[in-house]
C-alpha cells in the first residue's frame, strides 16, 4: 500500500493514457484463486447486481475507461477480473458490521467497522484500476490541493490479496486521500510507515478496521479473518516507528457449566479460532468435553451454556446474532437443535423463566431497551417494549426463590441495580452497589437458593456481594488480579456458589468460597493469549 505525493503535473504524466494501459494484457503469474481469495463467497451477495454495483460505481467515481479492456467493465460478474474483485472488497468494507442500521446513517457513528464503508467513498475521489503500477505496489493515492484525488489499484491488489486485505487497503488509501500521508521511515529508507499509533494515520486505519472485522465482522470466511490478523500483527510489528505495544492476540473464552449433572460446574474453555469446546472437572481435573466443535469460526459466534433438553445437564449453545439464531448441542448425546428468533437483539442470555427445568432465552436490544423471552422451541414467554438504558448491564437470576429466573440490570454510571420478574413486577431497586468500572455478576453466594448481586473490581481484584434485600455477604474479598475474567459457579458440593477467576495471560483458574477457602489454585486449563 502506498501513497506518493507528486506535483500535479508529475501526477498527470505518471498516469499515462489509460487506454494504452488496458490494451496490454496484465500478465499475472499467480492469480489468487477466487475460492481462496473469498471472491466466490462475496460475489454471492450480489456485488455485480445493479442495487450494489450501480451505487458504488458512482460513489467511488469509477470511470469506464479505467475498467474496460480486460478489467471487467463488460463482464462485471467475472470474479477473476479486477472490477468484480474490487466490488467484493467494497462490499466487505461496507457491510461487515453486525449493526443493522448503520447503512442508513448520514454521519460517522460507532467504530470504524460501522463508518469505514461511508468514509472511504467520501474521501476517495476516483478509483481506477491499472496495470502500470511499479512492480509489487498494491495501490497509490494522489492527494493534491488543485486536482481531484485519485486512487489507483494495481495487480497485487486484485491478484495477490484476498477480499478482506483489499478492503483494508481501501480504508488505508482513503486515509491518504483525506490528506494523511505516512510521516516516518521504518527499517530502511524505502519503507514508509507511521511515526506512532497516535499519529492516526493510514496504518492505524487499516489495522483498526482489520481488528474490528476480525472481532465482529459478520459472515466472513474464517480464513480471511485469520489472514487479516496476521497482516495486522505484521503491520503493528513493523510499520510504526514507535511500537504501539499491543498485538491482536486471542485467548480461549472461559465458562462454567455442569455438563454431567452432578451439581458442580466444570471448567470450560471455548476456542474462537476453531470453535472447539473443552471442559474438565474442576477438582478431579478429568476431561469432560474434549475438542467438541460447535460454532463456526469467523461468524461472530458467542458461546453460552444451558440445559435445553431437560436432562439436568448443561449443553453447548451458540448465539449467532446476525443470523438471529441459537444452535444447541448436547455433549451427552447426539441431540441438537436450533432456534431462529425474529427479533433484533444485541444481547442473549440463558435462564429458566418458566420453571420447567429447561432453559430459555432472554434477548435484549441495547438501543431500544426491548426485551424478548423465548423457550427453546420459540414460544413467547415475555416481551417488554423498554427496560434498561443502552449502557446498562443485563443479568439473569432467581431473586425471589420461585424457581423462575428474573431479570436484573446494573447501571455502571450510578451503581444502581434494578430487578423485575418476567411478568414485569418490580423485585428490587438498590441505589448503589458497585463503582464505575466494576464487573457485575449474579449468583447464590449464601446458599439460600436465592441469587444475590455481586461486583468484581478489576483494578483491585476485590469482590462485593449482597442479597437483594441489601444484606452484605462478601465485602472486599481479594480474589483475582488485573486482567482476570471473573465468573460465578459451584465448584464444590457446598450449597453456595463460589468466586472464580480465569487469568487469560496464564490460562489458569482460581476459585474461592465465601469462607475464604481456596478451592482451585492455578489450575492450568485453556489457551492463554
Amino acid at each position: 500500500m502506498k501513497t506518493i505525493r507528486l506535483s500535479a503535473t508529475a501526477a498527470l504524466l505518471a498516469l499515462g493514457p489509460a487506454g494504452e494501459a488496458h490494451a496490454q494484457v496484465c500478465g499475472q503469474q499467480y492469480p489468487l484463486d477466487p475460492s481462496i481469495s473469498g471472491d466466490l463467497y462475496y460475489s454471492a451477495f450480489g456485488t455485480c447486481e445493479p442495487w450494489f454495483f450501480d451505487h458504488f460505481w458512482d460513489a467511488y467515481d469509477f470511470d469506464e475507461v479505467n475498467w474496460n479492456e480486460g478489467f471487467g467493465h463488460d463482464n462485471t460478474c467475472n470474479v477473476n477480473l479486477p472490477l468484480a474483485r474490487t466490488m467484493n472488497a467494497i462490499y466487505a468494507l461496507t457491510y461487515s458490521s453486525p449493526t443493522p442500521d448503520y447503512h442508513s446513517s448520514d454521519g460517522y457513528q460507532g467504530d470504524i467497522l460501522e463508518w469505514g464503508g461511508l468514509y472511504a467513498p467520501k474521501k476517495i475521489d476516483e478509483l481506477d484500476g491499472s496495470c502500470e503500477g511499479p512492480p509489487g505496489v498494491i495501490a497509490s493515492t494522489w492527494n493534491e490541493p488543485i486536482i481531484d484525488n485519485l486512487t489507483e489499484l494495481y495487480l497485487p491488489f486484485f491478484y495477490s490479496n484476498n477480499v478482506a486485505q483489499r478492503a483494508a487497503t481501501i480504508i488505508h488509501e482513503a486515509r491518504h486521500a483525506s490528506g494523511s500521508d505516512h510521516d516516518a521511515y521504518c527499517g530502511g529508507a524505502t519503507k514508509q510507515c507511521d511515526s506512532s499509533w497516535d499519529y492516526n494515520g493510514a496504518y492505524r486505519y487499516d489495522v483498526a478496521w482489520a481488528a474490528q472485522f476480525v472481532e465482529r465482522g459478520v459472515g466472513a470466511p474464517a480464513h480471511l479473518k485469520a489472514r487479516l490478523t496476521d497482516d495486522a500483527n505484521n503491520e503493528l510489528a513493523g510499520f510504526f516507528a514507535v511500537d504501539p505495544g499491543f498485538r491482536l492476540m486471542h485467548s480461549d473464552v472461559p465458562l462454567l457449566a455442569d455438563f454431567n449433572g452432578d451439581g458442580r460446574d466444570e471448567l470450560v474453555a471455548w476456542r474462537p479460532d476453531n470453535c472447539a469446546w473443552f471442559a474438565i472437572d474442576a477438582l478431579a481435573l478429568e476431561a469432560r468435553v474434549d475438542s467438541v466443535v460447535w460454532g463456526l469460526a469467523g461468524h461472530d459466534d458467542r458461546s453460552l451454556t444451558g440445559d435445553f433438553n431437560d436432562d439436568g445437564k448443561d449443553d453447548l449453545i451458540i448465539w449467532r446474532r446476525w443470523e438471529r439464531k441459537f444452535y444447541m448441542l448436547s455433549v451427552n448425546g447426539p441431540q441438537w437443535g436450533e432456534l431462529k428468533v425474529d427479533v433484533d437483539a444485541d444481547v442473549a442470555l440463558v435462564g429458566d423463566f418458566d420453571n420447567d427445568d429447561r432453559d430459555d432465552f432472554a434477548l435484549w436490544n441495547r438501543t431500544t431497551g426491548a426485551w424478548w423471552g423465548r423457550t427453546v422451541t420459540g414460544s413467547t414467554l415475555f416481551e417488554f417494549k423498554h427496560w434498561g438504558e443502552p449502557a446498562d448491564r443485563p443479568l439473569i437470576g432467581d431473586f425471589n426463590k420461585d424457581g423462575k429466573d428474573d431479570l436484573a440490570m446494573w447501571r455502571p454510571s450510578t451503581g444502581e441495580w434494578f430487578g423485575i420478574t418476567t411478568g414485569g413486577a418490580s423485585l428490587f431497586h438498590i441505589l448503589h452497589w458497585g463503582e464505575l468500572g466494576d464487573m457485575p455478576m449474579v449468583g447464590d453466594f449464601d446458599g439460600d437458593d436465592k441469587d444475590d448481586l455481586a461486583v468484581w473490581r478489576p483494578l483491585t481484584g476485590e469482590w462485593f456481594a449482597m442479597t437483594v434485600e441489601g444484606a452484605p455477604i462478601v465485602t472486599g474479598q481479594h480474589w483475582g488480579v488485573v486482567g482476570d475474567i471473573p465468573l460465578v459457579g459451584k465448584i464444590d458440593q457446598g450449597k453456595a456458589e463460589d468466586m472464580v477467576v480465569w487469568n487469560p495471560s496464564e490460562g489458569t483458574w482460581w476459585a474461592l468460597n465465601k469462607q475464604g477457602a481456596v478451592l482451585i489454585g492455578g489450575v492450568e486449563f485453556g489457551q492463554p493469549y
Binding site: M1, K2, I4, Q29, Y30, L32, I36, W51, F52, H55, A59, T94, H103, S104, D106, G107, Y108, D111, I112, W115, L118, Y119, P121, P134, P135, G136, V137, I138, S160, N161, S178, H182, G188, T190, K191, N200, A211, H223, A226, R227, D230, N233, N234, G238, D243, P244, G245, F246, R247, L248, M249, H250, S291, E506, G507, T508, E524, Q527, P528, Y529
Partner: protein, 167 residues
C-alpha cells in the same frame, strides 16, 4: 494428513504466498500433535531473497514469508500449550529467527506455552538482546487501543452519495 499437507505446501510455487499460508493455517488449526515437525520445518526454512524491487510501500516477498512463518508459529503455540515438547523446542529455536516479526511472534508463543510463569518470562527475556526484551511485555489490544477518532462528518449538502443501500 500432516505429510500430505506438507507435500502440498512444497509443491506450490514460491510466489503463491496466500495458498502456502492457507496450507499452514490448515496445518495449524487442526492442532495435530504430529504436525510440530512440519510446522517447525516451515519456520526454519531459509527465506528466499526479496523478489520485488524496493519501492516505498511496495509488496515484499520477505514480508509474505514472514507472515507464513508467523502463522506456523501460531500452530506451534497451540501444540506447545497442549503439552508438546517438540513444539516447545521449536518455539525456543524460533527465538533465534533472523526475521524480526517471526522472532516477535515466537516470543509471545513461547511465553504463552509457559503460561507466562515468572521463570518463562525471565528465560525469554534472557534469550533476547536488550533492544528486543520489551517484546516480553507486549499485551493484547483492547477496544480502547483500537478505537479510531471519529472523523468529521461529511458536509451537509454534499452531492456524492453517502446513504448506503440496504443489504
Amino acid at each position: 494428513m500432516t505429510s500430505e499437507l506438507l507435500a502440498a505446501y512444497d509443491r506450490l510455487p514460491e510466489g503463491q504466498y496466500q495458498a502456502r499460508w492457507y496450507i499452514v493455517r490448515t496445518l495449524s488449526a487442526l492442532e495435530l500433535r504430529e504436525a510440530a515437525g512440519a510446522l517447525d520445518s516451515i519456520v526454519q526454512r531459509e527465506v528466499p531473497p526479496e523478489r520485488w524491487a524496493p519501492a516505498p510501500h511496495g509488496k515484499s516477498s520477505v514480508r509474505e514469508e514472514e507472515i507464513v512463518r508467523a502463522r506456523a508459529i501460531g500452530g506451534l503455540r497451540s501444540l506447545a500449550i497442549a503439552g508438546s515438547p517438540e513444539a516447545s523446542a521449536a518455539l525456543r529455536r524460533a527465538l533465534s529467527s533472523p526475521l524480526v516479526p517471526v522472532k516477535m511472534a515466537a516470543t509471545q508463543a513461547y511465553l504463552a506455552a509457559g503460561r507466562r510463569s515468572t521463570a518463562r518470562v525471565a528465560e525469554a527475556r534472557a534469550l533476547l538482546p536488550p533492544d528486543q526484551q520489551r517484546w516480553v511485555d507486549l499485551r493484547p489490544a483492547t477496544a480502547t487501543d483500537l478505537a479510531v477518532p471519529t472523523p468529521e462528518a461529511p458536509p451537509s449538502g454534499d452531492p456524492s452519495p453517502v446513504d448506503l443501500p440496504a443489504r
